[in-house]
Symmetry: C2
Subunit: 366 residues, 2 copies
Amino acid sequence: MPQFTSFDYQMMSRAISLAKRGTYTTTPNPNVGCVITLGDQIVGEGYHRKAGEPHAEVHAMRMAGDKAAGATAYVTLEPCSHYGRTPPCALGLIKAGVKKVICAMTDPNPQVAGRGIGMLQEAGIEVLVGLLEQDARALNPAFLTRMERGRPYVQLKMAASLDGQTALANGRSQWITSPQARRDVQHYRSLASAVLSTSQTVLADDASLNVRWSELSTDVQADYPEHELRQPTRVILDRQHQLHPQLKLFAADGAILTVAQQDADLCVELDDQGQLCLVETLEKLASEHNINHVWVEAGATLAKSFIEQELVDEIVLYLAPKIMGSDGRGLFGALGLTDMSQVQNFTIKDLRQVGPDMRVVLTPKR
Amino acid sequence: MPQFTSFDYQMMSRAISLAKRGTYTTTPNPNVGCVITLGDQIVGEGYHRKAGEPHAEVHAMRMAGDKAAGATAYVTLEPCSHYGRTPPCALGLIKAGVKKVICAMTDPNPQVAGRGIGMLQEAGIEVLVGLLEQDARALNPAFLTRMERGRPYVQLKMAASLDGQTALANGRSQWITSPQARRDVQHYRSLASAVLSTSQTVLADDASLNVRWSELSTDVQADYPEHELRQPTRVILDRQHQLHPQLKLFAADGAILTVAQQDADLCVELDDQGQLCLVETLEKLASEHNINHVWVEAGATLAKSFIEQELVDEIVLYLAPKIMGSDGRGLFGALGLTDMSQVQNFTIKDLRQVGPDMRVVLTPKR
């Protein structure tokens, strides 16, 4: 582990802060920030905003201009080495005459994976890796999941009363949670690459499942102006081809991917329960559509499948302070457990009040 | 509203802090603190520790000695005017030659109710009332409920999985919540005047329902030394006379009150559901046994009755981050609701993590 100075820590912290500005818009690319210093002065800085637009290093080099010669570049992720929609950043840094590059982490993208660092070193540039690596990883949990595990990061949204009911026995459920909780859901959608649901859910509520900017909280609106709004791809499991063009789903902005065995945007096999295979769906969303981050909003049946197949990275559960009675519809359906040792356990990652409701974020214990 | 000085506020704040030291032990009496000042010096202070022991004013006057003459007394509650186990404090203050008395609030106890203030004024002492009254009321929510509403303050303890289950279908439930949550329950018991349960609950677990000092958290132990331990009265609804002397309940320290229609410590009528009348039970606990504060620990049936009859001041609900499935036993049983407008709503008063579990404190919206 190289020795870093407190100036190095400050500069990488700043690069991490810059990277966060891309939070809502960079997908499928990662959030990256870059600071270029000459002596003890910042001469350039930038972040990646959107796929197809310049990388963080390019913005920072443009700002630095001639002052990049002999400078040090702090980058939250290893500079890229491949020609994509933009030329490789490693080459750019070499051409600009940068003397030293400090990266928070290597890029697990198989197209990079150390080759960016290699190019820089071959050109005689000093490269140090690992400064604030944990913080840099936390910028991109979803991108890293896709790169490292070949499937998107999966968040499962659920909502229920205090006593675990998602609807009354007759199906009535509007509204269990508060307008504040529903605004919070809009925020989660806005952070996701894709919103995944089922045709049953879409048909039941004629749901559009897109992001409505006007329903985001004012804090989020301040960070994410309306003209930058990116709609997550809506992925709808539609095994029985029930979707039809009159649905609000199709009128709302944003891409739609239908999933079925055939005649769909994404074709997958059935699993041994006769349901569309979720593993294959997730793997294809990652490999064929570069989807980093899936926000699942559906009913108890799909939720149960995701949990049983251990495909959930986080449950985001809204609980309204209401009593609906155990004759309603339960969160996860019947599980037939006979011993407490069979019970699935979770860890609380975050717990807070959202308006009059509570929100608990859980990660599975495995 | 009289004008108070910032010195007055400081002294009453101090009296309120002192009063809190009696939290675990004063029941059925209220928590009361007293500070006596001469000029800008504190010359005496004290708090009420336990029924039968001196009141706060007596401790403070003893400490002040001769310096009480011409002094000002700050008391969190109107000084008493009646001969109980101790002579009236109003008389004591008059005899000590105190010049001025500032009370945070009048005493709603019908044996006092302004007469303490009257005695002081007749003796020519200046009396001011209302300084930090809200904070003083918050010292004694349970005592005030008994005095003002003729029944104890009722806290209902519940515990369930995330999906609202209190046990698996076969009744297994040990343990849904963590040792930390169970220690927290010990704390709530230690704060209550009485723990109320049913013979079914006692028989099912051979529960002793007392406070086990060793299971209190170290923070609570530091404030509440073992030799001061007060056991809440255990009130057991035993309609069918199922309790028997071999139970751990009877081996454990602390008083027991059985409740039934006849041949019990407390006799009450049946309600129109054929259950022991809860309203009558609570009223008799208040009027015949001076019980300020009841902590209810029982099953879904009793919980439902307390809630339906609007007898609950607070629900303390522990939710363990576990999924048990909707085929388990639900928190409140079937309610037969057909419209969301029939759903009972609560307000979240407190929400926090307790070990790996969450604890939410709710008050009914009426």
